[in-house]
Amino acid sequence: MENITNHPILKIPKRKLVNFSFNGKKLTGFEGMVISSALFMNKIKIFGHHVKDNSPQGIFCSNGQCAQCTVIVNGKPVKSCMTPLADGMIIESCEGLPELPDDDKLVSVGDPPIIETQVLIIGAGPAGLSACQILGEKGVQVIIIDDKDRPGGKLVLQTHKFFGSQEDVYAGKRGIDIAEILSEAVHSLSNVDVWLNSTALAVFSDGLIGILKNNEEYIIVKPKYLLVATGAREQMLVFPGNTLPGVYGAGAFQTLVNRDLIKAAERIFIVGGGNVGLIAGYHALQAGIEVIGLIEALPQCSGYKVHEDKLRFLDVPVYTSHTILSANGDNQVESITIGQIDKNFNIISGTERTFACDAILIAVGLNPVDEFYHKAKEYGLKVWVAGDAQEIAEASTAIFTGKIEGIKILKEMRLNTIDNLDKLEEKASIMKLKPLPPVQIDVPDIEEGIFPVFHCNQEIPCNPCTSVCPQKQIETIDDSIMQLPYFKGEKECTGCGRCVAVCPGLAVTLIDYRKDKNNPIVTFPFEMTIEKLKVDQIITVVGNHGELGQFKVIKSRIIKEFPLTQLVSIKLTSKIAKYAVGIRLQPSIVREPLELYYKHPLANDTIVCRCERVTVGEIRKWIHKGITDFNELKALTQVGMGACGGKTCTPLIYRIFSEEGVSLDEITPGTLRPLLIEVPMGLFARTKEEDKYRI
């Protein structure tokens, strides 16, 4: 493991090295990066051991939501994923229970302030920022808070180009750039206060919101109107080895790689073929991390076909109808065992295979983070919800729902002048449509001149190619954003390559027959290296059904508007030119499985609640005894009562209930209580300290 020094999309900032120690060993890391990433840089993945069963603990959520990454810094237990590294830090692993430092000096205490605002927005992701812009531009006084160090939500981790339309949601731009556009629009408004590193801890019944501001100050905010735009959290799975360091949510891994610029693993395996898993694979490859494979339990990946193709073209095997059987390793992930499943999701005996990997990314779906919305509603606050907190969808949809809920708040304030809600809602609903199965598309017959070929074979809401053509010759069928694009050919294609460069799916090529009809020049998009590919460099060309061969690059160019997508031209025979879809640097390699490692999963020994180390067997035992009240399960097993407050295990337990034949309406849901995350007591008393509190 090391820091990433070279990335095709992300700029590598200059970072200052500082010294620190871990369990007495002298190490260096970058100043200001979170401690967990500094430890990863030094190949340290085990941060301590659990008090209950001595199991190894390390990074899991990478998001400040659990406490599994706890380390002892200068004597105090802190979450390493939230605490910035500083020079001279003495860090120790957290073995069992931490000791509370016997720091008994008397401190003065004070009262947290209560701040009033017209609107409070929790979450500065695409939804929160979009709503904030709508409100801010009308002069509304807004406080928008986010628990991260920069606005943009998960967009700041997205190096790929987005779908949708250019007009409404910046289609064709990368997530990181959309984050910047949205943030700038908000930053320029003087009536908007942006609080970063600020976590909403609780919505109280007196209508006040407790906020940990800038990770160092407790403030109570009294808003007239509240918008919850808190995004989503990742679902986990129950399988043997699921709590080994090295098993992460895909988003947690993206944080390590794309935010902290750490090569957090050498070889990863991805579980889940939705967009999140597919994109995580692409991001890993861009960061120089090998992707051993991706499995999807369904017969097809549920993510966009073009995302899946990006991985396939880069030589990542995608195993559909497969599931994870176990994560293996003594103290951290060393391999994964997968197996094929039949249509009833039963494992087909004999199909089990084990592959070496040092990280497993779980990308099996998202759940809305909507507890503040429900609490606020219950407590009678004027509250709205947008983005993934409202309904899980793409970031582009979150931009729409943010605008819509922002307008609704304006209406409530009687400040709305434009009433385009219907139109926005219609567009948002289109963005939410699930992708249809891919269709067979025919390549064009014509073999002269120059024109784009669209390898885009799935109806998804996307049309930036229609906006960028200077000749206005690209349209979608019926002018519908859901339909596939085609080249009209009424005017000549200039060969500018903008449609190739803008396509978020990297699914457009340009074929030029003008010089040599038998050996046309094909231009591909490429975004895997920061350096331009060299003339005569040998690369591999791929089609939908595999490799088409090795060819020499004849040209690589960049359009100013799309600086990070190279347009690489290659001469191919006319026989294959129209079928060539993508390029990669290396020819295909065959990844041999290891000797099968497959202890029959002791399903009952598998951990469900990582914080309190509660097993599936323990949960099942009580379900068999007739328990249907989640609160009773909590009382009996401590499940969901640990540091993360049940964020990870709750959906898993619902699944166990359903496996045991208990229907959802029989179950009494668990009571949700403050706080969202654990916070030092001193913050609530505003003690005056020279040392800052760290969560």
Binding site: Y218, I627, G682
Partner: protein, 396 residues
């Protein structure tokens, strides 16, 4: 069909209304003593009312003899439970410490100790040095001393009640959940049955153990119960290595112009290493609102950090709010009533239901099986509905 009819015609020896801190240990005792017992609960499962809001303190060191006697027996039950029945209920004999910072507090505590000693309680008034030993890191500015009762302790209300519940079932107690009681049927000044939204259950005796809802149940029987709930907020921290054992009770009043004044507060470190704390607001917040307020954390954090500065670095995990069914004198109302045979109150526990429960349960079972002794008689007289409620308990 016959089976069904037989079941409808079953007459219970006792029906307990409420499966909380009092109802469950009472069912445990009555079932153990061979009484045909049914517990009816409006909530979906056991101990889902205010039992789970209790922080888990258990002491016999009260200032009122009946409570002392009841809790002495409760402590015997809690402390021997694991040995007898195998379930760990996190009983921890950590003791209780009441701290004195003023001469007035000191005098109050010393006077109480004298009374408590009369009843054989293990409690001493100790000086500041001993308190500092018991609570490492305590702010000793103005610390005069306090009482220490080493035989008191704490246990998990969640684990204890579930374990009592399962053992009571082993002994034959029956439970009905999600059943709201809508009437108490009487005949000739005698209770005959309990009517719920789902059916009618015949019984000779009814025990009202409905906690904060007890007043409503009393009304169905035509009994006015002078009780009204007030609310207290509580919280729990992350677990840390154990560094103190007793329940710490700070009885100083505290002026807090911004977030509200408070009376006492108390906290202890449980067997898992978590610190659990609770505050008594001043004035009391009467009513049944259990929703968390924004005032509690600033209120309690200031007080706890002033007392024990190192706590500023411990992380708070969760907070909640629960109800104390309060009586005028701070003592429970336990026993039969005039004019309605078979109706028994076990209500108004004033936030001490968890520690009183096992002792109360056995007492009521003796009452029903006609085995009460002279001490029981004294208790029943003391805690009678018809007592004069002006003798206020020192630390209600």
């Amino acid at each position: 069909m016959l089976e069904q009819r037989r079941r409808i015609n079953i007459e219970y020896d006792v029906i307990i209304i409420g499966s909380g801190s009092i109802g469950v240990p009472t069912a445990l005792a009555t079932a153990h003593d061979g009484l045909k017992t049914l517990v009816i609960e409006v909530l979906p499962s056991v101990a889902q009312g205010d039992n789970k809001h209790a922080i888990g303190g258990i002491r016999a060191t009260h200032s009122q003899k009946s409570k002392i006697w009841i809790c002495q027996r409760s402590i015997e039950i809690f402390s021997t439970w694991k040995k007898k029945y195998g379930d760990d209920i996190w009983w921890d004999e950590g003791g209780y410490v009441f701290i004195a910072f003023t001469e007035e507090q000191e005098k109050l505590l010393k006077d109480t100790v004298d009374l408590q000693k009369k009843y054989g309680l293990n409690i001493e008034y100790v000086g500041a040095e001993k308190i500092k030993e018991l609570i490492p890191g305590i702010n000793d500015q103005g610390l005069l001393g306090g009482t220490f009762s080493p035989k008191d302790g704490n246990a998990s209300p969640l684990l204890a009640l579930h374990s009592f519940f399962r053992q009571s079932i082993n002994w034959g107690a029956e439970y009905k959940f999600k059943e709201e009681v809508i009437d108490i049927l009487k005949d000739n000044k005698k209770v005959t049955a309990v009517k719920t939204i789902k059916g009618t259950y015949k019984t000779k005796n009814i025990i009202n153990a409905a906690g904060a809802l007890a007043k409503k149940i009393g009304q169905m029987a035509g009994i006015d119960i002078p009780m009204q709930p007030d609310s207290h907020e509580a919280g729990i921290t992350e677990p840390i290595k154990k560094f103190f054992s007793p329940m710490v009770v700070d009885i100083q009043p505290f002026i807090d112009p911004k977030f509200g004044n408070s009376k006492n507060y108390y906290f202890y470190q449980n067997k898992e290493g978590q610190i659990i704390f609770c505050l008594t607001p001043d004035p009391s917040k009467f009513g049944t609102d259990r929703r968390e307020t924004s005032s509690f954390l600033p209120q309690i954090s200031k007080r706890m950090i002033k007392l024990l500065p190192r706590l500023r670095n411990i992380k708070i995990r969760r907070t909640w709010r629960g109800l104390y069914p309060m009586t005028l004198d701070g003592n429970p109302i336990i026993g039969p009533v005039n004019g309605l045979k078979g109706y028994i109150n076990a209500v108004g526990m004033c936030g001490q239901g968890f520690m009183l429960g096992p002792g109360v349960g056995e007492l009521l079972s003796r009452l029903l099986t006609r085995k009460i002794n002279s001490q029981d008689n004294e208790i029943l007289e003391d805690l009678s509905l018809y007592r004069n409620f002006y003798q206020v308990e020192n630390f209600k």
